[in-house]
Amino acid sequence: MKQIAFENKSAQKIYDSYFRRIRRTISVLSEADKQDVLMEFNSHIYEGLQNIEGDDEVDKLLKITQGLGDPEVVLKPLVAEKKLKQATTTFNPKHIFQAIFLNLKSGIKYSIFAILYLCLFSFGVLMIFKIINPENTGLFIKNGSFVALGTLKTTDTEVMEVLGDMFIPIMLLSALLLYILLTLGLKMTRKK
């Protein structure tokens, strides 16, 4: 992106600092989205400088940036939305967690997704527990009905762990399936 050069040093400082704030706000976005946002702000500032009457660069620049508002506030919805789009198209867990966190305030549905993803995370934890503590971790059943999925210490001899060595592969598969379903679900709520 071609930056605007100012003659006035203070104006240059204000411009640089404003762009630092934009960059910080949009740091989680993809490179392409970042470029788009930066270029649009840059273009707006440039056009403003050409069109606003007056000679003082500082005055003109301040007028423009005040009109645009605080990047942290103005860009918040855009960042949340773009991040969600990126997350649901890449299926990358890092993007998904960032997206959900950024969207938490914009609706209860994202809180529900956050909880579901946390459940998913616990599947992973269980797989580690199974390695550390194989005897007491698994799917426990008593007389054909579900007792627990997780780590259980019991003296009840009727409670049986049924998955055995298949626990880790099954959990891995379920986690993967759940992950895909959740992410597709997230993608669908975004389209509405």
């Binding site: 270029m39 707006h44 939305e81």
Partner: protein, 111 residues
């Protein structure tokens, strides 16, 4: 007169019609962001905050009503031009029908 009530009502009306106004501006021409704000100022008394324009344009883009393209400039600082899509054109026509109906009704009421 309850000027506070009027003010609140005005801001609601502005908020509700801004997308309609922007789509109408883009009906015959493509414009870049800064120009769009100037066009809004030219045709209406709405003092549109720059900070609200860009998120709104982004929303219209997400809804598939407008597209945008970067056009290189001699200055080296390109402009992002917005234009209506076909969906945007038909959506605007539908909004127009509603608006005309509303206008007729209000004219009858305020006679």
């Amino acid at each position: 007169m309850n000027s506070e009530f009027v003010q609140k009502w005005q801001s609601q009306v502005k908020k509700g019609t801004l997308a309609f106004i922007l789509l109408n501006i883009l009906k015959d021409n493509e414009f870049y962001g800064y120009e769009l704000i100037e066009q809004v100022r030219k045709y209406t008394t709405i003092e549109i905050a720059e900070g609200t324009l860009y998120p709104l344009m982004n929303r219209l883009k997400k809804e598939g009503l407008v597209t945008s393209k970067w056009v290189e400039q001699e200055s080296g600082i390109p402009r992002k031009y917005y234009q209506l899509t076909n969906v945007g054109i038909s959506t605007l026509a539908e909004m127009r029908t509603y608006w005309d109906g509303l206008e007729t009704a209000i004219q009858k009421l305020t006679k």
